[in-house]
Subunit: 126 residues, 2 copies
């Protein structure tokens, strides 16, 4: 019914983490390959590599590791830190969505007034 698109924007580093980079890391973990993850997101290998490089630049330790193949496009896996960042992002997203539903009724359900104002006679009557 609704979802969030949350970007975390760092001013100092600088850089940002959002659903695109997180999804790319997830796909990298699922496919074991930067090229396959890029394809799954309909982006070029170079584009995916630049996104991964940007997110890696936010951290002192790598979020993923590559095993060098013939053309430098061998397998890739997330590091413990990479898995932790992805897990935290998804947890953060879920908790924000719960917070929205629990505490911000107008923002969460903009058409609530329409429903409360409409009759319910047509539903389940005898």
């Amino acid at each position: 019914m609704k979802r969030l698109n949350i970007q975390i924007i760092f001013d100092r580093q600088p850089g940002r983490i959002g659903p695109g980079k997180v999804r790319l890391l997830e796909l990298l973990a699922e496919t074991g390959s930067i090229a396959a993850a890029a394809r799954a997101m309909s982006m070029s290998y170079r584009q995916a590599w630049l996104l991964l490089d940007e997110i890696n630049g936010l951290y002192d330790n790598a979020l993923y590791e590559t095993q060098h193949g013939g053309q430098g496009r061998g397998g890739a896996t997330l590091t413990d830190l990479g898995r932790q960042v992805v897990g935290e992002y998804r947890g953060f997203e879920a908790q924000c969505l719960a917070l929205l539903d629990q505490q911000f009724p107008q923002l969460a359900l903009p058409q609530r007034r329409a429903r409360s104002g409409s009759t319910s006679e047509s539903a389940g009557g005898h």
Copy 2:
């Protein structure tokens, strides 16, 4: 140091609310005019009007009201609902940021490891 860019995306209505539309509503309240709010965001009157129309479409009641001027560009004010939506968005944003800092350390402070690993001798020591 860091900030969030949160879009709430509704699948049914359809539409979305994010920092751009919320800022436009705030500027409309501050300036009392769609044209002035548009200028403050470096967008055309038409662009601002389309954004306002889109957010109004999410609700059954208006978020702002206009007083008709000579060319339909008279003053504009937020309705109670408009003020409520803006207030909830800013409250939601602040609570998400607090949640991030409190519960998601890697996501909140990607370079934390660097700081804890560096020496603090240079700061104020003798």
